[in-house]
Amino acid sequence: MSKKMHIKLNVNGKDEEFLAEPRELLIYTLRERLNITGPHIGCETSHCGACTVTIDGKSVKSCTMFAAQADGKEITTIEGIGTPDSLHPLQEAFKEHHGLQCGYCTPGMITRATKLLEENPNPSEEDIRFGMAGNLCRCTGYQNIVKSILAAAAEMNAAKEAAE
């Protein structure tokens, strides 16, 4: 067994410090050590995107990063995006447009979509399909996910205009 490392993360605005083996994958750190269970374990082979989190401004599959690599970084999970009382426009849109059925992929979908809309606030349907290609859904056939993201983009742009 290798030596444990002292690791510091900032998760959803909160500083976390702990000792962990370097081989601990970030998804396990989040779910089992920190009890942040929004990011899910789907395929665990870097394909499905259910474990997607935002790390220093990048959408990352947290099953494919060691906690040691994330040492010193800022991480946002679905828990940091909205709350049950105050849903993010994307969460509201997924609810409104049936962007989920079983809901397993949804935290990863929405976390990825926040970054997509940040980089491209006016995406076309094609932009969304291409930009969401790292997230798999086995229920919806993607149609309503795309619809939800388009609706959220419109909503967020309208809110931004109203604020200006």
Binding site: S2, L25, T45, G49, K58, V60, M65, R112, G134
Partner: protein, 284 residues
């Protein structure tokens, strides 16, 4: 999936990286984005007792374009590459290829250096770099040396890089003419069944230079001198396309796997090369 235990290092100086590689030899490996290596470690197909993370080394994530020479640091990610306006103007084939690699999340982490250094015949950038006649800078205990991309790949996962060396950057003479990277894959995120990188120069309706490399059709990328030569001096008509295809098919050596039997791969390679040449020619 839990990888075998390892010691993790995040050095800030390249000298320290080299020292670790010298100390631990084959038991040590450098890691850039980790999106090839970590999945292999999780499957326990790779055991790396000493893992050296390059993220804190300065100067590996720069892109420069000067005097017709493009230099890309090894830690530049596919995402960085796709979003670099200067690079899109100077060598648009890089962006076209990078957009066909993996998926958005993987492209935020996956690096140019990792893609070319790993030696996986499925990686896309090695063929692109051979097409562009890139050279790779390698730093080791005896200093720096450079190796042409066309001489770098020896067999699957076997390259001209020594165990104690690190690939630090890629240099490319700014390409001329039309370009295309055409890739056939089963789904987003997959490696190529066949892919072709083409750069082609047109003068007065005739091809004066052509460079062609193929991905995932042998245990290394294949730079096909013969396929390029078959186009030079022609108007890239049907006969020239067929000659280039035939020449390319003489250079590749695909094997049967879950992407299909050999005959299918050769068929797809021909289709993909023809498409790539036609698109590059239309842009020349």
């Amino acid at each position: 999936m839990i990888p075998a235990a390892f010691d993790y290092y995040r050095p800030t100086k390249m000298d320290d990286v080299i020292a670790l590689l010298q100390e631990h030899g084959d038991d040590a490996r450098v890691m850039a984005g980790g999106h090839s290596l970590i999945p292999m470690m999780k499957l326990r197909m790779a055991e790396i007792p000493h893992l050296i993370d390059l993220q804190a080394i300065d100067g590996l994530n720069e892109i420069s374009i000067e005097d017709g020479q493009i230099t890309i640091g090894a830690m530049v990610t596919q995402h960085d590459l796709i979003n670099h306006a200067g690079l899109e103007a100077a060598a648009p084939i890089l962006r076209e290829a990078a957009l066909q690699i993996a998926d958005p999340q993987v492209r935020y982490m996956g690096t140019v250096g990792g893609n070319v250094a790993n030696g996986d015949p499925g990686n896309d950038m090695p063929g692109v770099m051979q097409c562009l006649d890139a050279t790779f800078a390698l730093v080791g205990p005896d200093g720096e040396r450079s190796v042409a991309a066309r001489d770098f790949y020896e067999a699957a996962y076997m390259t001209a890089r020594e165990d104690e060396e690190v690939l630090t950057s890629v240099s490319i003479p700014a390409p001329q003419g039309g370009y295309a990277y055409e890739k056939q894959k089963r789904k987003i995120g997959d490696y190529a069944t066949a892919a072709a990188a083409v750069q082609i120069v047109k003068e007065d309706g005739k091809c004066t230079a052509a460079s062609i490399a193929m991905t995932n059709l042998s245990d290394t990328p294949i730079y096909s001198v013969d396929a390029g030569a078959a186009l030079v001096g022609t108007a890239v008509d049907a006969a020239a396309l067929n000659a280039a295809k035939a020449a390319m098919l003489g250079n590749i050596d695909p094997t049967e796997d879950n992407r299909g039997p050999v005959a299918f791969k050769k068929h797809v390679a021909g289709v993909i090369l023809a498409r790539a040449i036609e698109r590059a020619w239309s842009r020349a």
